[in-house]
């Protein structure tokens, strides 16, 4: 059993990157280790649920111990007792697996790395990235299931189109979506506290899901038919110009 205080336990400040240190006195059975590891992984956005690994459970912990990923637990009679060290090893292993490391490499790394190095892995993941990855997975799965938007979930209906080609396209879309997902992070780094571009002077018109028109509020209000037509021509000319330059401005 985890040694639980009478008052609710304060959670680790994971934003500081030292969240696991909160559990420095952890000691418990296999169930306790699974529960605490799951909480930590969930809080740093690296839970098994998010990357399709499934959550941590006692059987998995025993398996990792067998494979040498986790150090052998102490024994108190028949019961295995896990400590902070095991918690750090387990969290680090799950983070690495979530990042796509093969199990064999995880085993080698975790069993040989210093505790400080393992701790540094337990920093918050980018939750937006996890969400975008989930969407990509769903799109890939439902690609063959007759999605609604032509060009969204099923292969295009023209000669030579193949499922592989379609997967390539949707894969590219997903990668682009991930790049878009990083936008708030980059804006935050250059001093935009809102981590979002300000749009309050503009109206964004979604012509299709991947084609947006941004237009000044006042300008739209005062726009004449002639001006709208001129804008159309200007957009056409710009697109031809960009295409001619290989998409580079």
């Amino acid at each position: 059993m985890i040694d639980r205080p009478d008052k609710p336990a304060a959670g680790p400040d994971l934003a500081s990157g030292s969240g696991l240190a909160h559990f420095a006195n952890f000691e418990g059975g296999v169930d306790d280790l699974a529960l605490v590891a799951d909480s930590v992984l969930s809080a740093i956005g690296a839970s098994g649920d998010e990357d399709g690994q499934g959550s941590v459970n006692p059987r998995l912990i025993r398996d990792y111990t067998q494979r040498g990923i986790l150090s052998r637990p102490e024994r108190q009679g028949k019961e295995a007792v896990y400590s902070y060290k095991h918690l750090v090893e387990l969290v680090a292993a799950r983070v690495l697996l979530g990042d796509g490391w093969p199990l064999a490499k995880v085993s080698v790394y975790v069993s040989s790395a210093r505790l400080e190095d393992l701790l540094s892995l337990a920093t918050p993941r980018n939750p937006a990235k996890s969400a975008m990855r989930a969407i990509r997975d769903i799109r890939e799965r439902s690609a063959g299931h007759g999605a609604a938007r032509p060009g969204a979930g099923k292969p295009p209906d023209f000669p030579g189109a193949s499922m592989q080609m379609w997967r390539d396209i949707t894969g590219r879309q997903a990668r682009l979506a991930e790049l878009r997902a990083e936008l708030p992070v980059h804006l935050g780094r250059i001093g935009d506290a809102l981590k979002s571009p300000l749009t309050d002077e503009y109206i964004s018109v979604s012509l299709t899901y991947d084609l947006h028109l941004l237009i000044g509020n006042r300008r739209l209000g005062a726009m004449t038919l002639e001006e709208a037509e001129a804008i159309g021509k200007a957009v056409t000319a710009s697109l031809i110009h960009l295409r001619h330059k290989g998409g580079k401005p």
């Binding site: 969400a131 969407i135 769903i138 439902s142 299931h145 979930g153 809102l194």
Partner: protein, 445 residues
């Protein structure tokens, strides 16, 4: 930090000496009444996804637009919102943005017109796609999906839709569903919300839609605990079943609803204590089980409640039978039994066996006893059953859900009053008809 408390209350506070004992135990997981002074509500990252298929033409679409407008009006600079509509195809009317200034967004809502079929999955997915890039710790990302029809384009298998909702919920984007009228599949929308970590609502008519939107906004504004997991650790030999229809995580922990300030999540346990356990554990007091919850607080940090222990004295059969029952635990047991009967009645209605429906409802009404909410909500259902009204099925489904999954208000074991219910936050309100706006109910009993 939010202090969430867990208590265990047995229906009778003892086990029978030398005999197997079966008893109900109420687990109450309570949030503080009011937030700390410094607290502001969690930022919201919403995607409002509106069905604009042909059947929504007229009043339903007008009301749906009014509901979307209500949400927009109540968002602040700390929030984000996207607007998505779908019929045969999906249109992102407004990509995820800060909802200021509001006028362009409201104008986009006003521009929605009705169209063709129902591409529900793609509409939902594109809503989620808008919210996903802006998922951050300590905010709530949610798709609000409103539909009056059945998914008939793209993925439409309930299990797959629910699995997709679960996948997104685990990655930080939850889903709430709003069914309108009689054309939608309640099991599908219910499963999407359950798996998606959100709420399932329905409105009998377009005019009833605003009420659940307000309820959801109240809830989102008051959430203090998310990813609530109830862990029960019975003593060896003791068996425990959670009576509510909560889903469980892979470790068998019950997944409780998000918890709001001033509310309590609850679960009713059916606990079996074998006589053999008493022989193994000498002494007057038996340790029966321990329980605690893990959750994420408003800042997304993992927390846990203290561990509560249920220890019960042994006493002879006669003394056990003479013990007073805990009223609240008995009342919750009654609610769940009533929910079971509603599910039976609904199955009978689906077979068009209305005589059986009436018999089951009569039994449920008789068992309701002093629980006025249960009694009166069943009376409302009896009216539908008497008229063979097609609304019966949806009302029975959502009422049974409510009784199983609802948040409660501490101290609600007093007399039921419709007037008082209207004054409560929507998420702890006990309505008589789930698909109706409570303010339209007659107040006379």
């Amino acid at each position: 930090m939010t202090h969430i408390d867990l208590t265990l209350t047995p229906r009778r506070a003892a086990v029978i000496e030398g005999a197997d004992t079966e008893l109900d135990v109420l687990v109450s997981v309570s949030a503080p009444d009011t937030p700390a002074l410094s607290r502001s509500r969690m930022p919201l990252n919403l995607a409002i996804v509106i069905d604009r298929s042909g059947s929504m033409a007229g009043t339903p679409l007008a009301e749906a637009k009014r509901c979307a407008g209500y949400i927009l009006e109540h968002l602040s600079m700390r929030d984000r919102v996207a607007l998505v509509t779908f019929d045969s195809a999906v249109t992102v009317l407004a990509p995820s943005t800060i909802p200021e200034p509001k006028e362009p967004l409201l104008r986009a809502v006003r521009s929605i017109v009705s169209g063709g079929q129902t591409a529900l999955h793609e509409g939902w997915l594109q809503g989620a796609e808008q919210a996903a890039p802006h998922v951050v710790q300590g905010s709530i990302a949610r798709v609000l999906l409103l539909t009056d029809g059945q998914a008939n384009i793209g993925e439409s298998r309930p299990a797959m839709l629910a699995a997709d909702c679960a996948r997104l919920a685990a990655a930080g984007v939850s889903t709430s569903t709003y069914g309108l009228g009689q054309g939608f599949r309640e099991e599908l929308l219910g499963a999407m919300a359950d798996a998606g970590g959100g709420q399932a609502y329905y409105g009998e008519t377009a005019e009833d839609l605003m009420d659940p939107f307000r309820e959801e906004f109240d809830l989102l504004s008051a959430v203090c605990g998310r990813r609530m997991r109830l862990r029960i650790e019975p003593s060896p030999g003791v068996s425990v079943t959670v009576r509510n229809t909560y889903r469980t995580d892979p470790d068998g922990n019950a997944i409780l609803p998000d918890l709001a300030y001033g509310a309590a999540a609850w679960a009713l346990l059916r606990v079996k204590v074998p006589a053999a356990l008493q022989e193994a554990e000498p002494g007057r007091i038996l340790h029966v089980l321990s329980a605690f919850v893990t959750y994420q607080d408003g800042e997304g940090r993992p927390q846990s409640s203290r561990t509560a222990h249920l220890r019960l004295p042994r006493m002879p059969q006669a003394a056990f039978a003479a013990l007073p029952e805990d009223e609240l635990t008995a009342s919750r047991a009654l609610e769940l039994r009533s929910a079971d009967l509603l599910t039976e009645a609904r199955a009978a209605a689906d077979r068009d066996d209305w005589d059986l429906v009436e018999k089951i409802l009569a039994r449920a009404r008789a068992q309701a006893g002093d629980n006025e909410w249960v009694a009166r909500s069943i009376e409302e259902l009896q009216k539908y059953a008497l008229l063979r009204d097609p609304r019966f099925s949806k009302e029975a489904y959502f009422l049974a859900r409510k009784k199983n999954l609802r948040l409660a208000e501490p101290g609600e074991d007093g007399p039921y009053s419709l007037l008082e219910e209207t004054l409560k936050p929507g998420y702890v309100r006990r309505k008589l008809r789930q698909g109706k706006d409570l303010r339209g109910e007659p107040f006379g009993s």
